[in-house]
Symmetry: C2
Subunit: 375 residues, 2 copies
């Protein structure tokens, strides 16, 4: 679509300037007042909040105020199946699990299995169906509470979703989706309609129960255009605007601009990668902030700001003290490039071992998570 840096639900490229996005998208920075409010309710702050991995929001204060008054929200997030899950995908899910556990709330997890089908010529429903099954295992492996988690698959739950999607669609013009997503008249009519389906889980619990339940959507910032439209339309249907909280992107292994993408295998660590593959990918491909020679590195130190191993540790090393020591040692030159890479490898291997064990047990649990309509 556009050239230059771009952040849309289908394209994240170029160096992402989050300050600019905050202004352009009209979202709010997470400030210390909200952090205090979350900490009061949750009893702690997730590292992603302490470290700005989740950096902006819409109406998070309203959600927290309602929560403090006893009006619980529900969570909504999702995964559009089209490829294998990589560790970048885990970021919002890990955070979502933390909120579910700390606030004891329902999670509606959407698998819009038509979305990527509509956007990629090369995808048919058979391929999507394969990734749907695989991706569900990864989501279950995160450890969401099966009693409080409901999977919605657009084509399997169309009886439930198509009618409310039409309610939304009636109130969105072609002009709006062109302006929001950069479509032109060569877009297909399924792409045009799709955002209505993505809006449905944001009000489905209220629609089904007849009560007004606040919705909180943790997601990577590129999905914001969908929910901006939903926030515009839902009040017209008598539902509150969904609130949201947004993460930055996990940078690709190569350190290149944009976000980690499954379409560049050497730039991504998949949830099914072996310890050997992780070792090889990090050692070979992780962009380093270190100096060209050990001698020079010992003298000048490394640059954690551009060093992908360090940047990734900011996402996945939960211990603040450990992280600080790594930062300082690397910056001072005490820790070498090979060493910081090995720290990351060890951490990822532990994380993936746990994930893969949970994933292996997930196959029998899929049916427990699929939402069943009480009709």
């Amino acid at each position: 679509m556009a050239n230059g840096p771009s952040v849309t639900p289908w394209d994240v490229s170029g160096t992402v300037n989050y300050d600019k996005l905050v202004k352009e998208f009209g979202v709010e920075r997470i400030d210390s007042a909200i952090l205090r409010q979350i900490e009061r309710a949750a009893g702690e702050l997730h590292p992603f909040l302490r470290r700005g991995v989740f950096f902006s929001h819409r109406d998070m204060n309203w959600v927290m105020n309602e929560y403090e008054k006893g009006n619980k929200f529900f969570l909504y997030t999702g995964r559009s199946p089209s490829d294998a899950v990589h560790i970048g995908h885990l970021v919002p899910w890990m955070f979502t699990k933390w909120i579910q556990d700390r606030f004891n709330v329902d999670l509606w997890f959407q698998f819009p299995d038509e979305e990527k089908f509509l956007f990629k010529d090369s995808l048919d429903f058979k391929k999507v169906g394969h990734f749907l099954q695989e991706n569900m295992l990864d989501v279950i492996a995160i450890g969401f509470d099966p009693k409080r988690t409901k999977f919605l698959v657009d084509t399997l739950h169309a009886n439930l979703m198509y009618k409310p999607a039409c309610e939304v669609a009636k109130r969105i013009t072609l002009s709006t989706i062109k302006a929001s997503f950069g479509f032109d008249d060569s877009a297909n009519i399924g792409q045009a309609f799709y955002t209505a389906m993505q809006s449905v889980p944001a009000f489905l619990p209220s629609y089904l129960s007849g009560r007004t339940i606040p919705c909180l959507i943790p997601h990577a910032i590129d999905q914001d255009p969908h929910f901006r439209i939903a926030r515009d339309v839902l009040p017209k249907l008598g539902f509150p605007k969904p609130a949201s909280i947004h993460s930055v992107f996990l940078p690709p292994l190569s350190g290149a601009a944009g976000k980690m993408s499954s379409s560049i295998p050497t730039g991504a660590i998949y949830t099914t990668d072996s310890a050997k593959a992780v070792q090889e990918k990090v050692m070979k491909h992780a962009f380093s902030g270190g100096q060209p020679t050990v001698k020079e590195h010992r003298e000048k130190g490394g640059n954690p700001e551009v060093d992908v191993p360090y940047q990734w540790l900011r996402f996945f090393e939960e211990d603040d003290d450990k992280l600080k020591k790594i930062h300082d040692d690397y910056q001072s030159g005490k820790m070498l490039t090979g060493e910081i890479k090995q720290v990351l490898v060890d951490l990822l291997v532990r994380l993936l071992e746990r994930h893969q064990a949970a994933r292996a047990e997930a196959e029998d649990k899929v049916n427990d998570y699929i939402f069943k309509c009480q009709e």
Copy 2:
């Protein structure tokens, strides 16, 4: 949308020039060769065929050739619920029943309950749901074979229809629907997507069975733009182009241009009208081709070509000899305006009595007609 005469699925106004439509839409006139072929297979010709009420088609010869080779087609037609059914609606349904009976074929009857909802601000799903139930009774009252007739309701069968609709939608651009339906960017995204849902029954039996079954769609000519698009897309999905056969519009009682519309109550006879209402409407509102005075009428005779009672008798009086006698007597002045109106009233009252009796028994049968997926 456009000014001047217009024939689109949502607007039929002005004097309809069928010759011009045949050219514009690129359909073929029904000729004597096809009539002979239909008569050979059916054992007779329906009056609508003998009298040109069904006047044009697409690929009807292919359907008949396949039928003669033993490859049976299925029928597909529908009703978009938004208002009470009037006798103009019965025309394609009566013809569809005749084909079902004569050729012993399946009928898929679609009730796209989202269509008018998406096009009319004043309609909500509650109102549509009311008309859906009412309209189903009228369709059942036509007497379709319950073993061979399957009702599809878009919101009730979305689990079945949304996925194949996405297959179609992926291959239709916004440009195409703008050109086909006269939409601009103020159209809503549901309207844009809708034609994909209308295309689904045209290949659903093939999609579900894995066999290639020809589809024949009897419909009023205004629906052609939808099926023109379906004919373009379906071969790309490996399904044959649906064939179709098209009726003219029953003129409104007032004789005005356009088609009978439920939104002008005095211009329409509803299937639930009492004998008294029929008598009053025909006597008061039917546009007459007679002369201003009885004396003048006896001298100059009436004009059956513009006389709505005579035009309606061409649709509903099945006996060719009777019809000819009415025509000649009216044209010669032997039959007066009040008399030809009374002939029509008597015929409509008989037709509606039968219809209403069948309609009263239809309530218990709805469930037999609703298509059940074997999953």
